[in-house]
Amino acid sequence: MSYMKTTLLGCTMLALSGAAWAQDDTTVIGVSIPAATHGWAGGMNFHAQETIERLEETYPQLDFVLAAASDAGAQVNDIEDMVATRGIDALVVLPFESDPLTPPIQSVAEAGTWVTVVDRGLSVEGVEDLYVAGDNPGFGRVSGEYMVEKMPDGGDIVVLRGIPTTIDNERVDGFESAIEGSGINIIDMEHGNWNRDDSFNVMQDFLQKHDQIDAVWASDDDMAVGVLAAIEAAGREDIQFVLGGAGMKEMVKRVMDGDEMIPADVTYPPSMIATAIEMTAVGMVSNAPVSGTFTIGSVLITPENAEQFYYPDSPF
Amino acid sequence: MTAEQVLCLRDVRKSFGPVEVLHGVNLDLRAGEVLALIGENGAGKSTTMKILAGYQPATSGRILLEGEEVTFGSLHDGEEAGIVMIHQEFNLAEQLTVEQNIFLGRELRRGPFLDKRKMRELTRGYLDRVNCRVDPDTKVSALSNSDKQMVEIAKALSRDARVLIMDEPTAVLTGSETEVLFDQVRRMTAQGTAVLFTSHKLGEVAEIADHVTVLRDGSVVHDDRASEITEDGMATAMVGRDVSDLYPAKVGRPGEVMLSVRGLTVPGHARNVGFELRQGEILGVAGLIGAGRTEAFEGLCGLRPASAERIEIAGREVTIKKPRDALDHGLCYLTEDRKLRGLLLDKTMRVNLTLQALDRFGGWMIDRAAEDRALDKAIDEFDIRAGRRTMAVGNLSGGNQQKLLLAKIMQSEPAILIADEPTRGIDIGTKQQIYAFLRDLAAKGHAVVVISSEMQEVIGLADRVLVMRTGEVAGTLTGDELTEDAIVRLAVGLGANDKEKVA
């Protein structure tokens, strides 16, 4: 190719898409996340897209590749494609599951690519450069502590769990140890799969099975929606409150409005993906040290502080 | 000549539930001989053959293989003993090639791989022996019925059968194909193979069989050398009554033109077919297999895409685009394939009987009582014999299925009936009943078309015969012109009278 042509081509590309294609001075960041199959993931997808748009404006030298996968296998394919066809310089990944994703991410890291892992840790330590972690045991602990505080004399509660995974186990373990010895009894526990319909059915059956339930730890705001509908339909007055989790905007709104059934919520912010992308971007364009582990703690939302957790524009 | 007995049945009985279908059958297959096992449908031929081949165990009695008593636990045991059975419904895997079928289950190998070259060569050889010119790599699904039959026979050849059992092998074959088959049978018997075959075509039986065993209602009623019995004798033994007057007298006096067809074309099958059909008349349609007879009439009845210059029914022009149109004009087609196109084999007689004319039995809701009444009437009128009314139609004998199919078609009271191979694969007693019915229908003022590959049937039954060749009408024969010779000449493309060209 002649010198003339190269220049021309370069100029055209530059004009078309900012700095996107000029490999030399552009940094490509791959973002691989699970698809929006439930509320929390939907919020996470929203935050990812929004952050990428914002960062592309701010840093013209950065180019992002976003892929949402419907299962772990598809996510592995996405990552392989990013490496092979886009030559990414950094990878931000929220793994579907830890075990199946560890080897492919490991090989990306070994090739010298910056790796940021979000939410779920990998099975092998020390692979990633940056770990933006959600605090699942903390999520359970904060929830448990709130329950204890709210019911100082103890009481009988039922628990709805998510999809059987490590995340769910860590949360429930954290919750159980927090309420230990407080007089609060878990009289029943079933999987509601982080799904409104499933939690509705489970709660209906709990209401049939138990004549007295003092409170419900729904452990997730989507499940709390189903639980509330079931309680309302049964017309039961014995349940004092339902504690969800994750910080869905409708639930935060109810906390803000002082709804008695939803006195509080516990964050597990889907915006942690935004934090991770942002930190990675900063690490790519500057010399600021961003490696290490960055834990995003779970915070209790109460009517007092609800305002600052309310994002009316987010789908979640 | 009494050859060595290879396979014998001694006092074999077989019951299905409480019903005994074979009452002490004795049968001898001798090396180097052809045994014809004949009988009406439902007489127990198929059961007998299945017991011989090891498909079904006998309830009591003994099976002797070269004088020693054996019990076949499975079909495999039968094949191990050198007994091969060819079914009436083919036992070929449609999606595999001819070669793959012939070597199915005993593929030749060279090392870990299939020895394709060898298998193809051998297949070619077997096919040559039966004069079948299909490519060993053709998929079976692409073959015609007669080619499939030949492949079945080639498969049997490849197994070096000591005993070959064939269930109506000639039902789907043309005359010349039958000859090829018989040549092979003769060659196999000359090498000492024992052959058992069944056929409803008694002429063939007389031609090929060395020994004839006749079954009637599960018992052997005749068992003797073939030379000791005439065709009439066989028919009488099978039916239990004299059937010499197989065809009803042609008393009809054709009336008005009921159906007039001009320029009927079925893409790929028939071109420019035209004919007239009169009230009170039976029009025979003859031709070789593949001449486009079935397709032309299916096209006429809206069952497959077709076009016509002009179709008139009772003097009025009509257009027929779908089966409903044909039925509305009183035109009804009885399919040649009762098992695949005619009857729902897993449904009861009642459901089958009324399927085509369901709108005559109630409105949106079906009037079951009316259906039952119709079934009573049909059973009576068509002499359908079934154990239970609720049994699946697939369990009826072929003859009774055919009678039910006819009854089903008649539910819509057609003015014009097109019967395609109305007696294929059924016994002579039932044939006689169906012929009588068709003639009676014509005599009542309906018009009837009978498509048939059996020359005797067309000549015996029809007032007039239309012969088709390669999708076109080759000619029409009436009165004294109606001879087998004349039909064959038209069917193969020789003029009816220019015999010079033959030589």
Binding site: F46, Q208 | V19, L344, D346, L355, Q356
Partner: protein
């Protein structure tokens, strides 16, 4: 003849296992449930189980026709989610102009029914007229509707306006004479479906097509039209199920109706309909649906097994229910 007559009589006194199988399974489940928990047979629990069976049940009745006619529809679950999303969007959009009231609810219902019929017709058209395998067509539309609803909801949840929801709520939770609407609608659909299947021409034609398409064609049955109708009917029933579903939680998301198609198909097969077509019975499908919801209900009401094993229990019971019928076939 004597033997045959006795045979008939013996049959009449005891229906075959293919009929008894699903009923026996249901009775056993009910007995187990009653033993395990005293509330099980209470009116409230029965209402709960029946009402939540209604969605899958209404869809499964339609599925019975599709399968009987030799078809299959994998798209019903995501179709339901899509219709629910569409309904919510339309109702929310119409709220400012129409206000809360009966008309806006009727508008929502109309949207659901029309969208259902159209979606069904699309499946049917591609399968019959274009001639693509039902499995492929509905697998395709399954993905299409699922991602459409995700897109409509921006990956999150579409929620019905709160005021509207309060007004619409009784359609799921209330009814006449203490019987809630979903149960009433389910019952009506079942009765009409059963009549249509066993007594009407349409059902007979479906069975004929599923049993042997060629025979049906040669018997003057309009094969394509009948098939198309089965899919359109299934679409309509998905719409009806959605009308019952939306008032319950007032929301739709990407996870709405997840795996409903498999549950509906499983219910149809447990009920004795033949998967490859040719024979179907609507009452059997109802029993199949009830068996499936009762398993969940009983497992929730008792602490018999680890919740991790719920799926396994369900799988075992589904297979057992079908084996019960098969054995009967071999004997009969």
């Amino acid at each position: 003849m004597t033997a045959e007559t006795t045979n008939t009589r013996a049959r009449r006194s005891l229906p075959s296992m293919s009929v008894l199988g699903p009923i026996v399974a249901l009775v056993v489940l009910v007995a187990i449930g009653a033993m395990m928990n005293s509330n099980f047979l209470g009116a409230a629990n029965i209402t709960n189980v029946l009402a939540r069976s209604a969605f899958i049940g209404i869809i499964a009745v339609g599925m019975t026709f599709v399968i009987t006619a030799g078809g299959l529809d994998l798209s019903v679950g995501s179709m339901a989610a899509f219709i629910a999303g569409l309904m919510i969007l339309v109702m929310n959009a119409a709220l400012p102009s129409m206000g809360v009231g009966v008309p806006i609810i009727l508008l929502g219902m109309l949207v659901a029914v029309v969208a259902g019929i159209l979606a069904g017709l699309l499946n049917g058209f591609l399968i019959t007229t274009v001639g693509i395998e039902a499995f492929i067509v509905t697998l395709g539309t399954m993905g299409i509707y699922r991602s459409l609803v995700t897109w409509l909801a921006d990956g999150g949840t579409l929620s019905l306006d709160f005021g509207l929801r309060t007004f619409y709520r009784p359609v799921y939770f209330e009814g006449i004479l203490g019987i809630s609407w979903p149960i009433i609608v389910f019952a009506i659909v079942v009765i009409v479906g059963e009549l249509l299947m066993s007594r009407a021409r349409f059902g007979r034609h479906c069975a004929a097509i599923g049993s042997n398409e060629a025979v049906a064609h040669y018997s003057n049955v309009d094969v394509n039209r009948t098939r198309l109708l089965t899919y359109a009917m299934l679409g309509l029933l998905v719409g009806v199920a959605t009308i019952m579903y939306v008032p319950r939680l007032g929301s739709a998301s990407a996870s709405t109706g997840l795996l409903w198609e498999l549950e509906a198909i499983a219910a149809v097969i447990i009920g004795g309909t033949v998967l490859k077509g040719g024979f179907g019975r609507v009452w059997g499908t109802v029993i199949g649906v009830l068996i499936l919801s009762l398993i969940d209900n009983i497992l929730n009401l008792t602490d018999l097994v680890s919740p991790y094993l719920n799926g396994a229990i369900q799988g075992v019971i589904i297979i057992l229910a079908v084996i019960l019928q098969r054995e009967a076939k071999a004997k009969g």
